[in-house]
Symmetry: C2
Subunit: 299 residues, 2 copies
């Protein structure tokens, strides 16, 4: 029996990656389109899948790993619909509106849940029962995969908005989150760093005391994830994490914050095996989206 | 067919509740014993189940909801074994050592996971897909039940050790946690309150400014649970929560911390339906332990 074909979308804030793949993950076709409004994007998405399906055959399932906030509850009437996003045109847009025409089941999840799933399958999270993938970039978000399935409650997690201790005598910056001021995203995401210092950590030359400050906020998330999810591994990706020395500082400060309280073989001394960079780099998201499409095809 | 019989233990730091029940939850026999060392407790546990089984019939499964830290991973060779507890005699003790003689399967989970399960089944968590139950007493811990199963990673959660913002100009108390100083448990558990002020909140007459301070720490956990688990409801129990006005202050400060960012029908204005007291009171733990025993009997 020929392998089924999977349609996959990694929907990011600046670009969409579109892929047609075999269900074993082999890429057959790939394209990138700019994230404009749904009026522009959705016809391009439809064209891509129409053309590739004409070449390769019918699509058995679609997987979407998307920016948010977006409804990812399959039991919800608005499943797959963007909710409160400030991105012009996207609030109320729904992936099923463009993919429904293909008559195949659609699974929609968040970008970080998709990346977590991709890393769990083929990247730095292989072999983990519980894996947390965090991106620190334009925003901050975490996806937690447990035994091959992304976890959620009534909605996807919003780890970027937890509140780390913020000592204003060390860091007088008030924070840039429009909702919370100095939540994690307001202190440590890319835009917060640029608002505070005018440039990114890398552009600033990654000075140790600035790296240490940002690492302390990210380590607060890392420690909170340990205490509230006990993952087998924490992966930290995203543009901010590329600053030299940052991942190392996050390891050191997380170990310090945990204070030896949680003891397990997973938490190696120095946390070098525990807190790691993504294994798939920029491919994590589309790899996860293909897996979501495979799950859809099985429905 | 007669209903199967379930043996259940709620193992607390000061007392054990033992129960023989029908699998529908009907209690047939119940006893309380003091938590001394396993050398004292385990023979009393064996006697209780031997005698009640002689009267009512053979036991089909055992459920244990226990204090910890304890290994709750069924795949682990030390499943059911206390790990690093400072309680004399308990490190290395294992529930299967006393229950194994009855030849029935045993499921061991934490006290808070048991209480979460009990509240989800018959208490204030009925109808929730995802429920978080937190106790604020001698210690602080949270169990999260998702679709009838307690969640875990490589171990049970340790929510008491997350770090809330701590403004020392408002609260000069350094915190009482031997591992972290001013983690949540070090700031807001019963012993921390008594160390700071000499008495419990209730004994102090629950003065509003002291209630507000303790509530702010507990609200940090509530907001973190929302952002990292998105539960349909948060239940707060335990001795500290009985202080008049505390639950109300936790609601108000949690809503303030979330800042309107998370919007969902679950989060009602004022959070009166969202943050609630336990529905089963002191029966949550043994109710959950019976359910764990029913799960064991199905294995």
């Amino acid at each position: 029996m020929a392998e089924r074909l999977i349609g996959a979308i990694e929907a990011g804030g600046t670009k969409f990656v579109l892929a047609l793949a075999r269900e074993d993950g082999t890429l057959l076709e790939q394209a990138r389109i700019e994230t404009r409004t749904p009026d522009h994007c959705f016809p391009e998405v439809a064209d891509f899948f129409r053309q590739t399906a004409a070449t390769h055959g019918p699509i058995a399932g679609f997987g979407v790993a998307s920016f948010g906030p977006i409804d990812i509850d399959p039991a919800s009437p608005s499943y797959g619909t963007f909710t409160t996003t400030p991105k012009p045109g996207w609030a109320g847009a729904r992936f099923q509106d463009v993919l429904g025409a293909f008559g195949a089941p659609v699974v929609v999840d968040t970008d970080v849940n998709g990346a977590a799933l991709g890393e769990w399958l083929q990247g730095a999270g292989q072999g983990c029962n519980t894996l947390a993938y965090t991106t620190v970039g334009t925003g901050i978000g975490t996806g937690v995969v447990r035994l091959g399935k992304p976890l959620m409650g009534f909605s996807h997690y919003e780890s970027g908005h937890i509140t780390p201790p913020h000592d204003r005598s060390l860091d007088p910056f008030a924070g840039s989150c429009p909702y919370h001021g100095d939540c994690l995203e307001g202190l440590a995401a890319g835009p917060a760093i640029e608002k505070r210092w005018g440039q990114s950590l890398s552009q600033l030359g990654s000075p140790p005391e600035k790296v240490e400050l940002i690492a302390s906020y990210i380590a607060h998330l890392a420690a909170s994830l340990v205490l509230l999810h006990m993952p087998d591994r924490l992966i930290f990706g995203g543009g901010v994490m590329k600053a030299p020395g940052l991942l190392q500082a996050v390891r050191r400060l997380t170990e310090q914050k945990l204070g030896g309280y949680v003891r397990a073989p997973q938490l190696d001394p120095g946390l070098e095996q525990y807190i790691v960079a993504p294994g798939l780099g920029d491919l994590a998201g589309i790899t996860g989206a293909i897996e979501l499409g495979r799950i859809a095809a099985d429905q």
